[in-house]
């Protein structure tokens, strides 16, 4: 018993085209498998947008503001910790100065400038956005763009190489094909 050698594409198109049930194939579904995934993506993006809007509009308390400033400053006596994190006495003092500055109505930038004046540029945990520091900001962008471009280019080259035609094969018995499919399915799920 051999199946009709009808190519897949026309049949699939036909299945999508006729929803009336005239087609003898499997029962048509209203939603493809992608619908739920698409819905999930929409929900995720909506939540993300909502949260982004909320975050941007949220007023910061003075303590949070102080915390934010301190997190960007290096504690000069400890090598690797920020003034917000370090338990060192100097860091404590810096946190106090930040709170006092904020209470006196200074802007965060002015407070940072005062620390830079006192301890030099190395007190800032981010490289300065001027001079050679700009390079440090270009690197992550270049790395990410470069990585995506390299990946895409690699895939394109590899994809182009595999355009050899699929060898023609004798039509299979319907039972054989479904058996092979089932076995392959399991095999690929396990590997």
């Amino acid at each position: 018993m051999t199946s009709s050698p009808a190519p897949a594409r026309p049949e699939r198109r036909a299945r999508q085209g006729t929803r009336s049930g005239a087609h003898p194939g499997p029962r048509p579904r209203l939603l493809g498998p992608g619908a739920l995934v698409a819905l999930a993506i929409v929900v995720a993006l909506l939540s993300l947008a909502a949260v982004a809007v909320r975050g941007a509009n949220k007023p910061l308390s003075r303590a949070e503001q102080a915390q934010q400033i301190a997190a960007e400053l290096r504690c000069p006596v400890c090598q690797d910790l920020s003034a917000a994190d370090s338990p060192a006495p100097l860091a404590r003092q810096m946190r106090q100065q930040i709170s006092e500055g904020l209470a006196a109505g200074d802007s965060p930038a002015a407070i940072e400038d005062r620390f830079v004046a006192a301890y030099g540029e190395t007190v800032l945990l981010r490289p300065p956005s001027s001079g050679p520091g700009r390079l440090a900001y270009a690197v992550p962008l270049l790395a990410l763009v470069g990585a995506v471009a390299a990946g895409a280019a690699t895939l394109r080259v590899w994809r182009r190489r595999s355009t050899q035609p699929v060898p023609e094969r004798a039509p299979l018995a319907a039972g054989d094909r479904s058996r092979v499919e089932a076995a392959l399915d399991r095999w690929s799920e396990e590997e």
Partner: protein
């Protein structure tokens, strides 16, 4: 003891030199006797280095202060446990351990290949001996662990040893984790020598064989596990000792330890491309050489006196030696790659961009992008200072914002790619497998948006972490269900058969948990600084915290001041819990070293450190942290390491290929036509090319 140690080091020098030459000459001239003798040299070398380490250990335990190393890193009052640890508490001693571990790897390779002799073996052995030779030379010349205290040596024969030593650095004798963090990290670092050696050997032999990748994948996996554990223990040490409530400071030395981890993770994935499909040969050699070079670079940065940090060993004269070695590694490694370029060309071809092969490409470029960002950020201040004499800092805020996009993309990939089969995916089948994970991720994101999250990055971290956990968990569950149906011996046998795959999936789940933990702790930690008089209390993050007063205890090597806090949930009737943050006064330290107290919880930790005492302890200043997700971080990390270990553990070879010969009960399948709606009896063009190759491609 010192004499014995120095003698042993000279002997080790001779043995590794002999091994290097014998293996290389034996391989070159085709004399298996020479290769065999080089192989057998591994054991005496290991024995020698064990003896050398034992000599140093004995000197430490016997308070032999004639040795400079002992005088500088131990004292009579140091507890025995920390005396043992002093072996790796400073540069010179840790190099002895380093040598010992390398010799251990060498012996393991020698044992593994006692019968089987791949063509690459002589050269791999020779490379291993060469690396060993370098490190043995280091301890024979530039660094001399067994040097005696100068004064004693010149006051000839008087035998007036120092009365007492300086003791280990206070920070390093403050927590037992020092016992395990460095050895694991060393096991992780040094282990990269093995894949490197086989990679180089494959280049030297140059027959374009893919066997080296298969041979070294398991070694790399083991090394990766050690490094994972080492990094985790380092984070745990930072969390439990430094008292700042955090676990990763983007300290340069932490960064350079993360680099080989990222690159080896990339290799573990792309090695599968080579093993199964003969693809990415050149790329894999480059990755292996890069991982070893980055490890060497990290050692140079840490021990070469370039950086200052808690990890940096001061005053080490070995910097230039490391630099020369690094240059040699890069030159030889990439020189060989360039020389053998023609044999490395594989013409990789993929059938679809929706396939596991394509996903591995994505994995590799993203991991390498992360590594590149970290590497550049770490060396940036050094380069800027060297070129423009201007000092800059590149610290945690920079790394966090620079790496967040890359890591989020990686999570997206880890949460979707394992659903893709080799060769080509059926789009609708892939989408169907994505339904549950995507829905779970969306639910989590919507839920935390409703719960009041106001940080988009945290929302993404939670959502993508969930995607990773659910997608990979679903794959494991599917495997168990399908395995139970198709394998008469049941699900366990099916799991065992697909162990590599399931271990990989479990490691992904670990990564997802880790990501959720990191997101939670970095976005929603609360902290507060409180000054409390004894007997007074304050509230913090839903707890009532009461200062119970200061107690002082005298220990041989230190004085411990404990500022006890009793903690109870606000409004709860439960008994209060005692937290005991401490300050430790060491004679060698000018400032007290704190020991935080941590109340580990399943969802969050309550963390307290005491940072100041007033009125001789009648009042104290504390820093309190409420850290969500830290427990999840350790859990996820442990799962990753365990999964790696499960994949590494040796198995009996399974006889023959599965696939066509596997018992498949088709009947159970045909009873459920609903699952296979799209797979009608008609041929599907997108699956066709997969059939012949799926069978031949697997090992």
């Amino acid at each position: 003891m010192g004499r014995l140690g120095e003698l042993g080091l000279v002997l080790a020098l001779a043995l590794s030199a002999y091994g290097l030459v014998a293996a290389a000459v034996g391989g070159r001239t085709g004399r298996p006797v020479l290769v065999e003798s080089a192989r057998r040299t591994a054991l005496p070398l290991l024995a020698t280095l064990v003896t050398v380490n034992a000599a140093m250990l004995l000197a430490l335990l016997q308070d032999d202060f004639t040795l400079r190393y002992v005088a500088e890193n131990s004292s009579r009052a140091t507890p025995t446990f920390f005396k043992v640890l002093s072996l790796w508490a400073a540069d010179d001693g840790s190099l002895l351990l380093w040598n010992l571990i390398l010799a251990g790897y060498l012996a393991a390779v020698a044992l593994r290949f006692r019968r089987e002799r791949p063509t690459t073996f002589p050269y791999a052995l020779s490379v291993l001996y060469a690396v060993q030779l370098f490190y043995v030379v280091l301890v024979n010349g530039p660094s001399r662990p067994f040097a005696t205290v100068p004064d004693v040596a010149t006051v000839a024969g008087a035998g007036t040893a120092l009365l007492d030593g300086r003791g280990p650095a206070p920070l390093l004798q403050n927590h037992p984790l020092m016992a395990v963090h460095p050895p694991f990290l060393y096991l992780g670092f040094i282990g990269f020598t093995v894949p490197f050696a086989f990679g180089i050997a494959a280049l030297v032999v140059g027959n374009g064989s893919d066997r080296w990748a298969a041979l070294t994948r398991r070694w790399t996996l083991a090394v990766w596990c050690f490094l994972t554990v080492g990094l985790l223990l380092g984070a745990l040490w930072s969390y439990s000792v430094l008292g700042w409530g955090g676990y990763w400071a983007w300290d340069p030395v932490e960064n350079v330890a993360l680099l080989p981890w990222l690159v080896s993770t990339a290799f573990l994935h792309s090695a599968m491309l080579q093993e199964r499909r003969g693809m990415a040969r050149l790329w894999n050699v480059v990755l292996v050489v890069a991982a070893f070079a980055l490890m060497t670079f990290g050692t140079f940065l840490t021990r070469g006196n370039v950086l200052s940090s808690i990890h940096a060993f001061a005053q080490s004269g070995v910097g230039p030696a490391y630099l020369v070695f690094l240059a040699l590694v890069l030159l030889v490694g990439f020189g060989l790659v360039a020389w053998r370029l023609p044999t490395l060309r594989s013409a990789p071809a993929i059938d679809s961009t929706l396939s596991r092969e394509a996903a591995f490409v994505g994995n590799n470029v993203l991991l390498l992008a992360a590594a590149a960002i970290i590497l550049v950020g770490t060396v940036f201040p050094l380069v800027v200072e060297a070129t423009t004499n201007r000092q800059t800092t590149v610290g945690a805020p920079y790394f966090r914002s620079a790496l967040a996009p890359v890591f989020l993309l990686l999570l997206l990939l880890v949460g979707t790619a394992p659903l893709l089969p080799w060769r080509a995916a059926n789009r609708s089948r892939a989408l169907r497998r994505l339904r549950v994970p995507a829905a779970a991720a969306a639910l989590v994101m919507a839920g935390s948006a409703v719960a009041g999250d106001d940080k988009p990055s945290a929302l993404l971290g939670f959502g993508l972490g969930t995607l990773v956990v659910v997608a990979n968990g679903q794959e494991i569950l599917t495997g168990i269900v399908v395995g139970r149906r198709s394998d008469r011996r049941g699900a366990v046998a099916a799991l065992r058969r697909g162990r590599r795959r399931y271990a990989g999936l479990a490691a992904h789940i670990g990564l997802g948990l880790l990501a959720i933990g990191i997101t939670a702790s970095s976005s929603f930690a609360q902290q507060s600084e409180l000054t409390l008089a004894a007997g007074h209390s304050a509230s913090f993050a839903g707890y009532d915290v009461r200062y119970e007063g200061l107690t002082t205890a005298q220990e041989p090597q230190r004085t411990v001041l404990t500022a006890a806090l009793s903690v109870r949930g606000t409004g709860s009737d439960d008994a209060s819990v005692l937290l005991d943050p401490r300050l430790n006064l060491y004679p060698a330290a000018s400032e007290p070293i704190g020991s935080p107290a941590i109340l580990h919880g399943p969802v969050w930790d309550l963390y307290a450190s005491v940072i100041g005492l007033q009125d001789s302890g009648r009042s104290a200043t504390f820093r309190l942290y409420h850290n969500p997700g830290v427990g999840l971080l350790w859990l996820g990390g442990a799962l990753m390491a365990l999964a790696g270990a499960a994949a590494t553990w040796p198995v009996r070879r399974r006889p023959g290929r599965p696939g066509p010969t596997r018992r498949v009960r088709v009947r159970s399948r045909t009873k459920r036509p609903d699952r296979r709606r799209t797979a009608g009896p008609t041929p599907r063009p997108d699956r066709q090319p997969a059939h012949p190759v799926v069978r031949t491609g697997a090992p």
